[in-house]
Protein backbone atom coordinates (compact mmCIF):
# COMPACT_ATOMS: atom_id res chain seq x y z
CA UNK A 1 0.00 0.00 0.00
CA UNK A 2 1.48 3.33 -1.03
CA UNK A 3 0.09 6.69 -0.02
CA UNK A 4 0.18 10.13 -1.52
CA UNK A 5 -1.27 12.63 0.93
CA UNK A 6 -1.83 16.32 0.55
CA UNK A 7 -4.50 18.49 2.07
CA UNK A 8 -7.82 16.58 2.01
CA UNK A 9 -6.71 14.42 -0.90
CA UNK A 10 -5.40 10.90 -0.69
CA UNK A 11 -4.67 7.98 -3.03
CA UNK A 12 -3.54 4.42 -2.45
CA UNK A 13 -2.63 1.54 -4.69
CA UNK A 14 -3.07 -2.14 -3.85
CA UNK A 15 -2.81 -5.44 -5.68
CA UNK A 16 -5.96 -7.39 -6.45
CA UNK A 17 -4.78 -10.67 -7.89
CA UNK A 18 -2.29 -9.47 -10.50
CA UNK A 19 -4.00 -6.15 -11.11
CA UNK A 20 -2.96 -2.85 -9.62
CA UNK A 21 -6.04 -1.18 -8.16
CA UNK A 22 -6.14 2.45 -7.15
CA UNK A 23 -8.42 4.25 -4.73
CA UNK A 24 -8.45 8.03 -4.55
CA UNK A 25 -10.43 10.40 -2.40
CA UNK A 26 -11.05 14.10 -1.95
CA UNK A 27 -12.96 16.03 0.66
CA UNK A 28 -14.61 19.39 0.80
CA UNK A 29 -14.86 21.76 3.73
CA UNK A 30 -14.22 21.71 7.40
CA UNK A 31 -16.97 19.20 8.02
CA UNK A 32 -19.88 19.85 10.29
CA UNK A 33 -18.64 23.28 11.24
CA UNK A 34 -18.72 24.99 7.84
CA UNK A 35 -20.75 28.18 7.90
CA UNK A 36 -22.59 27.56 4.62
CA UNK A 37 -25.15 25.39 6.39
CA UNK A 38 -22.46 22.90 7.46
CA UNK A 39 -21.46 20.69 4.59
CA UNK A 40 -19.13 17.75 4.54
CA UNK A 41 -18.58 16.17 1.14
CA UNK A 42 -16.33 13.23 0.39
CA UNK A 43 -15.68 11.70 -3.00
CA UNK A 44 -13.87 8.41 -3.46
CA UNK A 45 -12.98 6.96 -6.82
CA UNK A 46 -11.38 3.68 -7.73
CA UNK A 47 -10.52 1.84 -10.88
CA UNK A 48 -11.33 -1.47 -9.20
CA UNK A 49 -13.72 -3.86 -10.87
CA UNK A 50 -16.23 -4.40 -8.09
CA UNK A 51 -19.94 -5.16 -7.78
CA UNK A 52 -21.97 -2.10 -6.86
CA UNK A 53 -23.41 -3.90 -3.83
CA UNK A 54 -19.93 -4.95 -2.66
CA UNK A 55 -18.64 -1.38 -3.02
CA UNK A 56 -21.64 -0.07 -1.09
CA UNK A 57 -21.04 -2.57 1.70
CA UNK A 58 -17.30 -1.78 1.81
CA UNK A 59 -17.98 1.96 1.88
CA UNK A 60 -20.47 1.58 4.73
CA UNK A 61 -17.82 -0.23 6.78
CA UNK A 62 -15.15 2.37 5.97
CA UNK A 63 -17.42 5.34 6.74
CA UNK A 64 -18.42 3.76 10.06
CA UNK A 65 -14.77 3.73 11.09
CA UNK A 66 -13.86 7.17 9.76
CA UNK A 67 -16.31 9.94 8.86
CA UNK A 68 -18.75 8.78 11.53
CA UNK A 69 -15.99 9.00 14.14
CA UNK A 70 -15.13 12.64 13.94
CA UNK A 71 -16.57 15.70 15.60
CA UNK A 72 -15.57 19.32 15.43
CA UNK A 73 -18.42 21.09 17.18
CA UNK A 74 -21.14 18.49 17.58
CA UNK A 75 -23.30 20.13 14.94
CA UNK A 76 -24.44 17.42 12.57
CA UNK A 77 -24.78 18.72 9.04
CA UNK A 78 -27.98 18.63 7.01
CA UNK A 79 -26.21 17.18 4.01
CA UNK A 80 -23.08 15.19 4.82
CA UNK A 81 -22.32 12.91 1.89
CA UNK A 82 -19.68 10.39 0.95
CA UNK A 83 -19.84 8.98 -2.57
CA UNK A 84 -17.71 6.18 -4.03
CA UNK A 85 -17.36 5.55 -7.75
CA UNK A 86 -15.68 2.56 -9.42
CA UNK A 87 -15.02 2.25 -13.16
CA UNK A 88 -13.39 -1.18 -13.39
CA UNK A 89 -10.42 0.04 -15.43
CA UNK A 90 -7.96 -1.85 -13.21
CA UNK A 91 -9.13 -5.04 -14.90
CA UNK A 92 -9.01 -7.15 -11.75
CA UNK A 93 -11.37 -10.06 -11.26
CA UNK A 94 -14.33 -9.01 -9.15
CA UNK A 95 -14.16 -12.24 -7.21
CA UNK A 96 -10.66 -11.43 -6.02
CA UNK A 97 -11.75 -8.18 -4.36
CA UNK A 98 -12.93 -9.88 -1.20
CA UNK A 99 -9.63 -11.66 -0.59
CA UNK A 100 -7.64 -8.50 -1.33
CA UNK A 101 -6.65 -5.48 0.71
CA UNK A 102 -9.48 -3.46 -0.91
CA UNK A 103 -11.51 -3.02 2.30
CA UNK A 104 -8.40 -2.12 4.30
CA UNK A 105 -7.33 0.37 1.65
CA UNK A 106 -10.77 1.97 1.51
CA UNK A 107 -10.84 2.18 5.32
CA UNK A 108 -7.46 3.89 5.22
CA UNK A 109 -8.52 6.43 2.55
CA UNK A 110 -11.71 7.33 4.42
CA UNK A 111 -9.96 7.59 7.78
CA UNK A 112 -7.17 9.82 6.49
CA UNK A 113 -9.72 12.13 4.80
CA UNK A 114 -11.83 12.23 7.96
CA UNK A 115 -8.82 13.22 10.06
CA UNK A 116 -7.93 15.95 7.55
CA UNK A 117 -11.40 17.43 8.09
CA UNK A 118 -10.87 17.63 11.85
CA UNK A 119 -7.35 19.07 11.46
CA UNK A 120 -8.84 21.73 9.18
CA UNK A 121 -11.83 22.40 11.46
CA UNK A 122 -12.76 26.04 11.77
CA UNK A 123 -10.45 27.83 14.14
CA UNK A 124 -9.20 24.62 15.70
CA UNK A 125 -5.71 24.54 17.15
CA UNK A 126 -5.57 20.98 18.51
CA UNK A 127 -6.39 17.52 17.14
CA UNK A 128 -7.26 14.96 19.80
CA UNK A 129 -7.55 11.21 19.25
CA UNK A 130 -9.85 10.16 22.07
CA UNK A 131 -9.83 6.47 22.95
CA UNK A 132 -12.48 5.29 25.38
CA UNK A 133 -12.08 1.73 26.66
CA UNK A 134 -13.68 -0.39 29.33
CA UNK A 135 -17.28 0.72 28.81
CA UNK A 136 -20.04 -1.84 29.30
CA UNK A 137 -20.48 -1.96 25.53
CA UNK A 138 -19.41 -0.09 22.39
CA UNK A 139 -22.51 2.11 22.41
CA UNK A 140 -21.76 3.37 25.91
CA UNK A 141 -18.13 3.92 24.92
CA UNK A 142 -19.36 6.05 22.02
CA UNK A 143 -21.73 8.00 24.30
CA UNK A 144 -18.85 8.64 26.73
CA UNK A 145 -16.50 9.75 23.94
CA UNK A 146 -19.07 12.09 22.38
CA UNK A 147 -19.94 13.64 25.76
CA UNK A 148 -16.26 14.43 26.34
CA UNK A 149 -15.53 15.64 22.81
CA UNK A 150 -18.62 17.86 22.60
CA UNK A 151 -18.26 19.45 26.04
CA UNK A 152 -17.52 23.16 25.73
CA UNK A 153 -15.54 23.04 28.97
CA UNK A 154 -13.37 20.11 27.86
CA UNK A 155 -12.80 21.66 24.45
CA UNK A 156 -11.76 25.04 25.88
CA UNK A 157 -9.34 23.25 28.22
CA UNK A 158 -7.79 21.58 25.15
CA UNK A 159 -7.53 25.04 23.60
CA UNK A 160 -5.51 26.14 26.63
CA UNK A 161 -3.25 23.06 26.42
CA UNK A 162 -4.54 22.11 29.86
CA UNK A 163 -4.27 18.41 30.89
CA UNK A 164 -7.53 18.82 32.78
CA UNK A 165 -9.16 15.64 34.07
CA UNK A 166 -11.93 17.22 36.14
CA UNK A 167 -13.95 18.39 33.16
CA UNK A 168 -13.53 14.97 31.52
CA UNK A 169 -14.93 13.25 34.60
CA UNK A 170 -17.76 15.78 34.70
CA UNK A 171 -18.71 14.98 31.07
CA UNK A 172 -18.47 11.24 31.76
CA UNK A 173 -20.81 11.75 34.70
CA UNK A 174 -23.59 13.29 32.61
CA UNK A 175 -23.02 11.03 29.59
CA UNK A 176 -25.32 8.06 29.04
CA UNK A 177 -22.48 5.65 29.84
CA UNK A 178 -22.57 3.79 33.11
CA UNK A 179 -19.50 4.95 35.05
CA UNK A 180 -18.03 4.40 38.49
CA UNK A 181 -15.79 7.36 39.26
CA UNK A 182 -13.62 5.29 41.60
CA UNK A 183 -12.46 3.13 38.66
CA UNK A 184 -11.82 5.69 35.94
CA UNK A 185 -8.39 6.27 34.36
CA UNK A 186 -7.56 9.39 32.33
CA UNK A 187 -4.22 9.50 30.54
CA UNK A 188 -2.41 11.43 27.83
CA UNK A 189 0.07 10.30 25.19
CA UNK A 190 1.89 11.69 22.22
CA UNK A 191 0.20 10.72 18.91
CA UNK A 192 0.54 6.98 18.48
CA UNK A 193 2.97 6.98 21.37
CA UNK A 194 3.11 3.81 23.38
CA UNK A 195 3.55 5.41 26.75
CA UNK A 196 0.43 6.76 28.42
CA UNK A 197 0.99 9.24 31.24
CA UNK A 198 -1.94 9.07 33.63
CA UNK A 199 -3.33 12.25 35.17
CA UNK A 200 -6.02 10.30 37.00
CA UNK A 201 -6.09 6.64 37.89
CA UNK A 202 -8.73 4.49 39.57
CA UNK A 203 -10.54 7.52 40.85
CA UNK A 204 -7.58 9.53 42.11
CA UNK A 205 -5.25 12.15 40.68
CA UNK A 206 -1.77 10.75 40.11
CA UNK A 207 1.58 12.24 41.08
CA UNK A 208 2.63 12.87 37.48
CA UNK A 209 3.80 16.48 37.33
CA UNK A 210 1.42 18.93 35.69
CA UNK A 211 4.28 20.26 33.58
CA UNK A 212 4.99 16.79 32.21
CA UNK A 213 1.35 16.29 31.26
CA UNK A 214 1.04 19.79 29.82
CA UNK A 215 4.02 19.13 27.56
CA UNK A 216 1.87 16.50 25.82
CA UNK A 217 -1.40 18.44 25.78
CA UNK A 218 0.12 21.67 24.53
CA UNK A 219 1.27 19.99 21.29
CA UNK A 220 -0.84 20.35 18.13
CA UNK A 221 -1.91 16.71 18.39
CA UNK A 222 -2.21 14.30 21.28
CA UNK A 223 -4.01 11.12 22.32
CA UNK A 224 -6.46 11.06 25.21
CA UNK A 225 -7.04 7.68 26.85
CA UNK A 226 -10.04 7.03 29.07
CA UNK A 227 -10.63 3.64 30.66
CA UNK A 228 -13.90 3.10 32.52
CA UNK A 229 -13.00 -0.42 33.76
CA UNK A 230 -16.60 -1.58 33.46
CA UNK A 231 -16.43 -3.94 30.47
CA UNK A 232 -15.10 -4.50 26.97
CA UNK A 233 -16.75 -1.62 25.08
CA UNK A 234 -14.52 0.80 23.19
CA UNK A 235 -14.74 3.71 20.79
CA UNK A 236 -12.20 5.93 19.06
CA UNK A 237 -13.26 9.47 18.21
CA UNK A 238 -11.26 12.24 16.53
CA UNK A 239 -12.04 15.63 18.03
CA UNK A 240 -10.92 19.24 18.11
CA UNK A 241 -10.66 22.09 20.56
CA UNK A 242 -12.94 25.14 20.84
CA UNK A 243 -11.15 28.42 20.23
CA UNK A 244 -11.87 32.13 20.14
CA UNK A 245 -11.28 31.92 16.38
CA UNK A 246 -14.14 29.45 15.99
CA UNK A 247 -16.49 31.91 17.68
CA UNK A 248 -15.18 34.87 15.71
CA UNK A 249 -15.57 32.97 12.44
CA UNK A 250 -19.11 31.80 13.16
CA UNK A 251 -20.57 34.97 14.63
CA UNK A 252 -21.63 35.75 11.09
CA UNK A 253 -21.84 38.99 9.23
CA UNK A 254 -25.39 40.23 9.53
CA UNK A 255 -24.82 42.87 6.88
CA UNK A 256 -24.77 40.04 4.34
CA UNK A 257 -28.27 38.57 3.77
CA UNK A 258 -26.67 35.51 2.18
CA UNK A 259 -25.53 34.36 5.63
CA UNK A 260 -29.08 34.23 6.96
CA UNK A 261 -29.72 30.63 6.02
CA UNK A 262 -26.32 29.25 7.02
Amino acid sequence: MTTDTCRKEIAVEIKVGRSAVRIGGICKGAGMIQPGMATMLGFISTDAAIESSALKRALKIAVGKSFNRITVDGDMSTNDSVIALANGRAGNSKSEIRRSQFQAALNFVCLELAKMIVRDGEGTSRFVALRVRGARNDREAEAAARAIANSSLVRTSWCGGDPNWGRILCALGYSKADVDETRIDVGYAQPDGRKILFAFRRGRPTNVALKTLAKITSAAEFDLHVDLHRGQGEFLLYAADLTENYVAFNKGDITDPATLGG
Copy 2:
Protein backbone atom coordinates in the same frame (compact mmCIF):
# COMPACT_ATOMS: atom_id res chain seq x y z
CA MET B 1 -46.72 40.01 45.61
CA THR B 2 -43.85 42.46 46.03
CA THR B 3 -40.36 41.88 44.70
CA ASP B 4 -36.95 43.10 45.69
CA THR B 5 -34.43 42.07 43.06
CA CYS B 6 -30.72 42.58 42.98
CA ARG B 7 -28.06 40.41 41.43
CA LYS B 8 -28.88 36.76 42.15
CA GLU B 9 -30.98 37.65 45.17
CA ILE B 10 -34.73 37.90 45.32
CA ALA B 11 -37.47 38.12 47.93
CA VAL B 12 -41.24 38.13 47.74
CA GLU B 13 -44.04 38.50 50.25
CA ILE B 14 -47.49 36.95 49.99
CA LYS B 15 -50.53 36.54 52.21
CA VAL B 16 -51.38 33.11 53.56
CA GLY B 17 -54.70 33.53 55.31
CA ARG B 18 -54.04 36.59 57.43
CA SER B 19 -50.29 35.97 57.79
CA ALA B 20 -47.60 37.68 55.73
CA VAL B 21 -45.26 34.99 54.40
CA ARG B 22 -41.89 35.78 52.93
CA ILE B 23 -39.74 33.76 50.53
CA GLY B 24 -36.16 34.74 49.85
CA GLY B 25 -33.53 33.20 47.59
CA ILE B 26 -29.88 33.57 46.72
CA CYS B 27 -27.76 31.90 44.07
CA LYS B 28 -24.10 31.26 43.66
CA GLY B 29 -22.07 31.24 40.49
CA ALA B 30 -22.71 31.28 36.80
CA GLY B 31 -24.31 27.86 36.87
CA MET B 32 -23.05 24.97 34.85
CA ILE B 33 -20.26 26.97 33.30
CA GLN B 34 -18.28 27.88 36.41
CA PRO B 35 -14.64 26.86 36.10
CA GLY B 36 -14.33 25.45 39.62
CA MET B 37 -15.84 22.13 38.50
CA ALA B 38 -19.10 23.82 37.47
CA THR B 39 -21.22 24.55 40.49
CA MET B 40 -24.69 25.99 40.70
CA LEU B 41 -26.02 26.55 44.20
CA GLY B 42 -29.40 27.99 45.12
CA PHE B 43 -30.72 28.65 48.60
CA ILE B 44 -34.32 29.54 49.30
CA SER B 45 -35.62 30.48 52.71
CA THR B 46 -39.10 31.25 53.92
CA ASP B 47 -40.81 31.98 57.15
CA ALA B 48 -43.89 30.06 56.05
CA ALA B 49 -45.31 27.36 58.28
CA ILE B 50 -45.36 24.44 55.88
CA GLU B 51 -45.04 20.65 56.10
CA SER B 52 -41.62 19.42 54.99
CA SER B 53 -43.22 17.12 52.41
CA ALA B 54 -45.34 19.97 51.05
CA LEU B 55 -42.29 22.25 50.75
CA LYS B 56 -40.36 19.49 48.99
CA ARG B 57 -43.20 18.96 46.52
CA ALA B 58 -43.54 22.71 45.90
CA LEU B 59 -39.79 23.08 45.39
CA LYS B 60 -39.72 20.21 42.89
CA ILE B 61 -42.43 21.91 40.85
CA ALA B 62 -40.66 25.27 40.99
CA VAL B 63 -37.24 23.83 40.08
CA GLY B 64 -38.78 21.96 37.14
CA LYS B 65 -40.01 25.27 35.72
CA SER B 66 -36.87 27.29 36.47
CA PHE B 67 -33.41 25.86 37.25
CA ASN B 68 -34.07 22.83 35.05
CA ARG B 69 -34.96 25.12 32.14
CA ILE B 70 -31.72 27.00 31.75
CA THR B 71 -28.57 26.23 29.84
CA VAL B 72 -25.41 28.20 29.39
CA ASP B 73 -23.07 25.73 27.72
CA GLY B 74 -24.79 22.36 28.00
CA ASP B 75 -22.29 21.16 30.59
CA MET B 76 -24.27 19.65 33.43
CA SER B 77 -22.56 20.21 36.74
CA THR B 78 -21.49 17.47 39.11
CA ASN B 79 -23.07 19.20 42.06
CA ASP B 80 -26.00 21.47 41.22
CA SER B 81 -28.09 21.98 44.34
CA VAL B 82 -31.17 23.92 45.33
CA ILE B 83 -32.11 23.89 49.00
CA ALA B 84 -35.25 25.36 50.58
CA LEU B 85 -35.59 26.06 54.29
CA ALA B 86 -38.75 27.07 56.18
CA ASN B 87 -38.88 28.16 59.82
CA GLY B 88 -42.60 28.76 60.32
CA ARG B 89 -42.12 32.22 61.87
CA ALA B 90 -44.85 33.71 59.69
CA GLY B 91 -47.35 31.95 61.90
CA ASN B 92 -49.73 31.03 59.09
CA SER B 93 -51.86 27.94 59.27
CA LYS B 94 -50.21 25.08 57.37
CA SER B 95 -53.54 24.08 55.89
CA GLU B 96 -53.89 27.47 54.21
CA ILE B 97 -50.66 27.08 52.26
CA ARG B 98 -52.28 25.06 49.53
CA ARG B 99 -54.97 27.61 48.81
CA SER B 100 -52.47 30.47 48.89
CA GLN B 101 -50.08 31.94 46.35
CA PHE B 102 -47.18 30.05 47.96
CA GLN B 103 -46.48 27.79 44.95
CA ALA B 104 -46.75 30.70 42.52
CA ALA B 105 -44.41 32.79 44.68
CA LEU B 106 -41.87 29.96 44.96
CA ASN B 107 -42.04 29.41 41.19
CA PHE B 108 -41.39 33.12 40.70
CA VAL B 109 -38.41 33.20 43.10
CA CYS B 110 -36.80 30.16 41.45
CA LEU B 111 -37.42 31.39 37.92
CA GLU B 112 -35.98 34.84 38.60
CA LEU B 113 -32.86 33.31 40.21
CA ALA B 114 -32.46 30.88 37.32
CA LYS B 115 -32.64 33.71 34.78
CA MET B 116 -30.03 35.66 36.77
CA ILE B 117 -27.67 32.71 36.41
CA VAL B 118 -28.03 32.73 32.62
CA ARG B 119 -27.66 36.51 32.42
CA ASP B 120 -24.46 36.17 34.46
CA GLY B 121 -23.18 33.18 32.42
CA GLU B 122 -19.47 33.28 31.72
CA GLY B 123 -18.71 35.61 28.87
CA THR B 124 -22.30 35.70 27.66
CA SER B 125 -23.55 38.77 25.86
CA ARG B 126 -27.11 37.72 25.03
CA PHE B 127 -30.02 36.19 26.94
CA VAL B 128 -32.48 34.25 24.80
CA ALA B 129 -35.91 33.01 25.92
CA LEU B 130 -36.52 30.12 23.55
CA ARG B 131 -40.13 28.99 23.20
CA VAL B 132 -40.72 25.80 21.26
CA ARG B 133 -44.36 25.00 20.46
CA GLY B 134 -46.19 22.49 18.32
CA ALA B 135 -44.01 19.47 19.08
CA ARG B 136 -45.68 16.06 19.25
CA ASN B 137 -45.28 16.16 23.03
CA ASP B 138 -43.47 18.16 25.73
CA ARG B 139 -40.47 15.83 25.72
CA GLU B 140 -39.87 16.37 22.03
CA ALA B 141 -40.32 20.12 22.53
CA GLU B 142 -37.60 19.97 25.21
CA ALA B 143 -35.29 17.94 22.95
CA ALA B 144 -35.79 20.48 20.15
CA ALA B 145 -35.15 23.43 22.48
CA ARG B 146 -32.00 21.88 23.96
CA ALA B 147 -30.62 21.00 20.51
CA ILE B 148 -31.02 24.62 19.43
CA ALA B 149 -29.71 26.16 22.65
CA ASN B 150 -26.67 23.89 22.87
CA SER B 151 -25.63 24.16 19.22
CA SER B 152 -22.28 25.95 18.92
CA LEU B 153 -23.34 27.31 15.54
CA VAL B 154 -26.64 28.71 16.81
CA ARG B 155 -24.95 30.17 19.89
CA THR B 156 -22.22 31.90 17.88
CA SER B 157 -24.86 33.36 15.56
CA TRP B 158 -26.58 34.81 18.65
CA CYS B 159 -23.22 36.25 19.66
CA GLY B 160 -23.09 38.01 16.30
CA GLY B 161 -26.64 39.35 16.70
CA ASP B 162 -27.55 37.36 13.60
CA PRO B 163 -31.25 36.43 13.09
CA ASN B 164 -30.12 33.20 11.51
CA TRP B 165 -32.82 30.57 10.88
CA GLY B 166 -30.71 28.07 8.92
CA ARG B 167 -28.68 26.92 11.91
CA ILE B 168 -31.87 26.61 13.97
CA LEU B 169 -33.41 24.35 11.33
CA CYS B 170 -30.19 22.35 11.18
CA ALA B 171 -30.28 21.76 14.96
CA LEU B 172 -33.97 20.84 14.80
CA GLY B 173 -33.11 18.32 12.09
CA TYR B 174 -30.59 16.44 14.24
CA SER B 175 -32.61 16.78 17.45
CA LYS B 176 -34.68 13.85 18.65
CA ALA B 177 -37.89 15.74 17.92
CA ASP B 178 -39.98 14.67 14.97
CA VAL B 179 -39.98 17.63 12.57
CA ASP B 180 -41.31 18.36 9.11
CA GLU B 181 -39.25 21.20 7.70
CA THR B 182 -42.10 22.34 5.45
CA ARG B 183 -44.20 23.26 8.51
CA ILE B 184 -41.66 25.00 10.75
CA ASP B 185 -41.96 28.64 11.85
CA VAL B 186 -39.01 30.58 13.30
CA GLY B 187 -39.69 34.05 14.69
CA TYR B 188 -38.12 36.70 16.88
CA ALA B 189 -39.64 39.12 19.37
CA GLN B 190 -38.54 41.68 21.91
CA PRO B 191 -38.63 40.29 25.47
CA ASP B 192 -42.24 39.62 26.38
CA GLY B 193 -43.24 41.53 23.28
CA ARG B 194 -46.52 40.50 21.72
CA LYS B 195 -45.48 40.87 18.13
CA ILE B 196 -43.44 38.01 16.65
CA LEU B 197 -41.56 38.83 13.47
CA PHE B 198 -41.12 35.64 11.48
CA ALA B 199 -37.86 34.99 9.66
CA PHE B 200 -39.10 31.62 8.42
CA ARG B 201 -42.68 30.42 8.06
CA ARG B 202 -44.11 27.07 7.00
CA GLY B 203 -40.82 25.98 5.51
CA ARG B 204 -39.92 29.18 3.66
CA PRO B 205 -37.96 32.34 4.46
CA THR B 206 -40.25 35.34 4.82
CA ASN B 207 -39.92 38.76 3.30
CA VAL B 208 -39.25 40.46 6.63
CA ALA B 209 -36.15 42.60 6.13
CA LEU B 210 -32.95 41.27 7.66
CA LYS B 211 -32.30 44.67 9.22
CA THR B 212 -35.67 44.56 10.99
CA LEU B 213 -34.97 41.11 12.40
CA ALA B 214 -31.39 42.02 13.35
CA LYS B 215 -32.66 44.98 15.33
CA ILE B 216 -34.35 42.48 17.66
CA THR B 217 -31.53 39.91 17.79
CA SER B 218 -28.77 42.45 18.39
CA ALA B 219 -30.36 43.52 21.69
CA ALA B 220 -29.08 42.10 24.98
CA GLU B 221 -32.25 40.02 25.36
CA PHE B 222 -34.75 38.63 22.88
CA ASP B 223 -37.36 35.91 22.51
CA LEU B 224 -36.99 33.15 19.94
CA HIS B 225 -40.22 31.42 18.89
CA VAL B 226 -40.18 28.06 17.12
CA ASP B 227 -43.41 26.33 16.11
CA LEU B 228 -43.14 22.80 14.72
CA HIS B 229 -46.87 22.49 13.90
CA ARG B 230 -46.90 18.80 14.76
CA GLY B 231 -48.86 18.70 18.02
CA GLN B 232 -49.43 20.34 21.38
CA GLY B 233 -45.99 19.85 23.01
CA GLU B 234 -44.17 22.93 24.27
CA PHE B 235 -41.08 23.89 26.24
CA LEU B 236 -39.53 27.16 27.35
CA LEU B 237 -35.75 27.27 27.80
CA TYR B 238 -33.52 30.17 28.84
CA ALA B 239 -30.24 30.16 26.97
CA ALA B 240 -27.15 32.22 26.26
CA ASP B 241 -24.78 32.91 23.41
CA LEU B 242 -21.25 31.54 22.94
CA THR B 243 -18.60 34.24 22.89
CA GLU B 244 -14.85 34.61 22.53
CA ASN B 245 -14.82 35.65 26.18
CA TYR B 246 -16.28 32.30 27.23
CA VAL B 247 -13.43 30.52 25.48
CA ALA B 248 -10.78 32.87 26.84
CA PHE B 249 -12.11 32.43 30.36
CA ASN B 250 -12.27 28.65 30.21
CA LYS B 251 -8.98 27.94 28.45
CA GLY B 252 -7.53 27.64 31.92
CA ASP B 253 -4.19 28.61 33.32
CA ILE B 254 -1.99 25.54 33.21
CA THR B 255 0.63 27.18 35.39
CA ASP B 256 -1.79 26.79 38.28
CA PRO B 257 -2.09 23.15 39.43
CA ALA B 258 -5.30 24.07 41.26
CA THR B 259 -7.06 24.32 37.90
CA LEU B 260 -6.30 20.71 36.99
CA GLY B 261 -9.42 19.25 38.53
CA GLY B 262 -11.86 21.92 37.40
